[in-house]
Amino acid sequence: MPILNALLAGLIFGAGLLVSGMANPAKVLGFLDIAGNWDPSLAFVMAGAIAIGSVGFAMARRRKYSLFDAAMLLPTASRIDRRVLAGSAMFGAGWGLAGFCPGPALVCVGSGEFGAMLFVVAMLVGMKIFALAEQRPSQTNGS
């Protein structure tokens, strides 16, 4: 059951990315182009997602276990450190460069977009580079 639930969540998440326009890099870049011909649509994606998400997380916070008896694993990190700021700055630069963030890129790989496949392969390489760099100096555990 928990596996099916995760599959269903992935399907609905992906459908949401498609319906909202987030899965279209041209739409994302139109949103990020405030100095040009700005398309504010994606602000409505965030508003809709947080409207429902905040209800879900408020319910989750009151539970010790999930509906399928898994431990409720909510993030505990709260420090606003160099990692979260520098990492987000890098991510934002890449996002603004091509208009892809991880979720939409995976959905577009599913629909067979060559450009998305190229982006995802590079993204996986980037993640692997990060994992290798993390292992080396010290065994600090991030998340």
């Binding site: 928990p2 099916l4 995760a6 599959l7 609905i12 998440f13 992906g14 459908a15 990315l17 498609l18 909202s20 890099p25 041209a26 870049l29 182009d33 405030i34 100095a35 011909n37 700005w38 965030m46 997602a49 429902i52 998400g53 209800v55 879900g56 997380f57 989750a60 999930s66 509906l67 993030p75 990692r83 979260v84 700021l85 520098a86 990492g87 987000s88 890098m90 991510f91 630069a93 890449g94 996002w95 091509a98 208009g99 963030c101 991880p102 979720g103 599913g110 629909s111 450009g115 998305a116 190229l118 995802v120 590079a122 993204m123 996986l124 390489v125 993640m127 990060f130 994992a131 998340s143």
Partner: protein, 144 residues
């Protein structure tokens, strides 16, 4: 600045957003986990991590979404204007950056803001600001 009324689509954006929020709520209430795509993929890449089945199922759902979508209605248009080298550089930045920051648009943006996390708010403000900046530089200064 002008507003692009031709492409402005507040209704579909809101409906899509509601679906995304619902999916995030479903995953946390059902599996007790955050729907953070970069974290999910990052853990799948790490062959030593346990608890990979739900992550693989979630990613499979993302891949399959356009196929299920197509059964009901036509897929919305996707325009990828970036050249292959730009896509590769962007992918590397997104891969390293999201892992360094422990989250992306979904983990920090959707889930973090829904939880009221100040750390995620700082992440979201930072990646949005850099996104605006990158588009400004590429479109208006370099003229891509």
């Amino acid at each position: 600045m002008s507003v692009d009324l031709v492409h402005f689509s507040p209704f579909s954006a809101l409906v899509g957003g509601l679906l995304i929020g619902f999916a995030a709520a479903l995953l946390v209430l059902g599996n007790g986990r955050i729907a953070g795509i970069s974290g999910i993929i990052g853990s799948l890449l790490d062959t030593t991590s346990s608890d990979r089945a739900w992550r693989a199922a979630f990613v499979l759902g993302l891949f399959a979404a356009p196929w299920i979508f197509k059964l009901f209605t036509a897929l919305p248009p996707v325009t990828i204007a970036s050249s292959p080298p730009v896509l590769v550089v962007a992918g590397l930045l997104v891969g390293i950056g999201t892992r360094y920051a422990s989250g992306c648009t979904s983990g920090h943006g959707v889930c973090g803001l829904s939880r009221g996390s100040a750390r995620s708010l700082a992440a979201t403000v930072t990646f949005m600001a850099m996104g605006f900046f990158a588009v400004f530089v590429t479109r208006h200064l370099l003229g891509f």
